[in-house]
């Protein structure tokens, strides 16, 4: 009795598996080197300051804080210095006092009626990374959110 010779040959999966293994290794390598990026919103100049929309109570204007990143350190100013006193702390070496700034902002937040938006200004040569550190400190501290909206002010 003759045997074999009839029927279709089976599909050769070896090259397909070879390609898939290479692709998987490539994608795993790529994924490991992808830098995770995020975004943080900033208001347009003029978007900060006093409330400018519906629901604003003109009879009780809230105070606006300005955080200035200067060469010496960080300063917190308000639109009415008689009510909210100005604060400044110098940097230690190259470390800006972001923690101390957060404590002061939390204290002002709990003590005064303040706008949710603040103005952030900096000296001309302050690097962006320092500005971003201060922005992180303005948005939230260990107790929760501080100021949601940040507006870039003019370079000093």
């Amino acid at each position: 009795m003759a045997g074999g010779g009839g029927g279709q040959e089976e599909l050769n999966l070896v090259p397909y598996l070879d390609i898939m293994v290479n692709l998987i290794m490539f994608l795993i390598t790529i994924t490991a080197y992808i830098v995770e990026m995020r975004e943080t919103p900033v208001l347009a100049p003029g978007g900060g300051g006093p409330c400018q929309g519906e629901g604003c109570d003109d009879k009780k204007p809230k105070l606006t804080l300005t955080i200035a990143v200067i060469n010496q350190g960080i300063a917190v100013l308000s639109s009415d210095a008689a009510v909210v006193p100005a604060w400044q702390q110098d940097k230690v070496g190259e470390e800006y006092p972001v923690g101390a700034m957060q404590q002061k902002l939390r204290e002002y937040r709990n003590s005064f009626e303040l706008e949710d938006n603040v103005i952030l200004a900096a000296d001309k040569q302050i690097p962006y990374k320092v500005v971003m550190q201060v922005m992180d400190g303005i948005r939230a501290d260990s107790q929760g959110p501080l100021f949601v909206g940040i507006t870039f002010g003019q370079a000093r």
Binding site: Y16, L17, I24, T31, R38, T40, P41, Q125, A155
Partner: protein, 180 residues
């Protein structure tokens, strides 16, 4: 009787040898017939998963020595929109160079007009996005995405943001690296 017993013993020995040989043959056949279907199924699932993960990563933001955004604790995912890149050598709008930068200053003979190309490029992009939105395309929320190197001086950052504001953009999203 003893010869019968002896014969029986020999027969049983041969029989045992035959059984062992049969087992080896069966075992050998089982090794040859490896089933690749399960492995192929697993690889296909892993491949699709990795492709989806790679596809969901934000695109067109290349990090290198002239473009290294600062780290931040911000957690919001990036929403693609019109982009402005500020690097050590150029200011680009949608991947096209509009201004040259040298020592973190915009190159230009007249400082008052040095940012004009940037303004024109942003205004053009805004008009295009508005027309697309009018025709029923992607809604335009007047947002621009700013990607800047971490060493960019605040003066340059503020200038770019100011020019974008004049070009009609009202919201800005600063792109940062996720802080581990």
């Amino acid at each position: 009787m003893s010869s019968d017993a002896q014969e029986e013993r020999e027969w049983s020995d041969d029989d045992e040898i035959l059984i062992v040989r049969k087992k080896r043959k069966v075992h050998h056949e089982a090794v040859e017939g490896l089933n690749l279907t399960a492995m192929m199924d697993m690889f296909t699932i892993i491949l699709v998963f990795l492709i989806k993960q790679y596809a969901s990563a934000p695109d067109n933001i290349q990090v290198n020595e002239i473009m290294m955004p600062p780290k931040s604790s911000a957690e919001a995912n990036i929403q693609p929109t019109i982009s402005v890149f500020i690097s050590k050598t150029d200011i680009l709008v949608e991947q096209k160079s509009t201004l040259k930068v040298e020592n973190w200053k915009i190159v230009g003979s007249d400082p008052a007009k040095a940012t004009q190309p940037l303004f024109e490029a942003l205004e053009m992009r805004r008009r295009i996005a508005e027309k697309i939105a009018e025709k029923g395309g992607t809604p335009f929320d007047y947002t621009v995405m700013v990607v800047a190197d971490e060493n960019t001086p605040y003066e340059l950052m503020a200038t770019v943001v100011q020019v974008a504001g004049k070009a009609g953009f009202s919201q800005y999203r600063m792109i940062v690296r996720l802080k581990n």
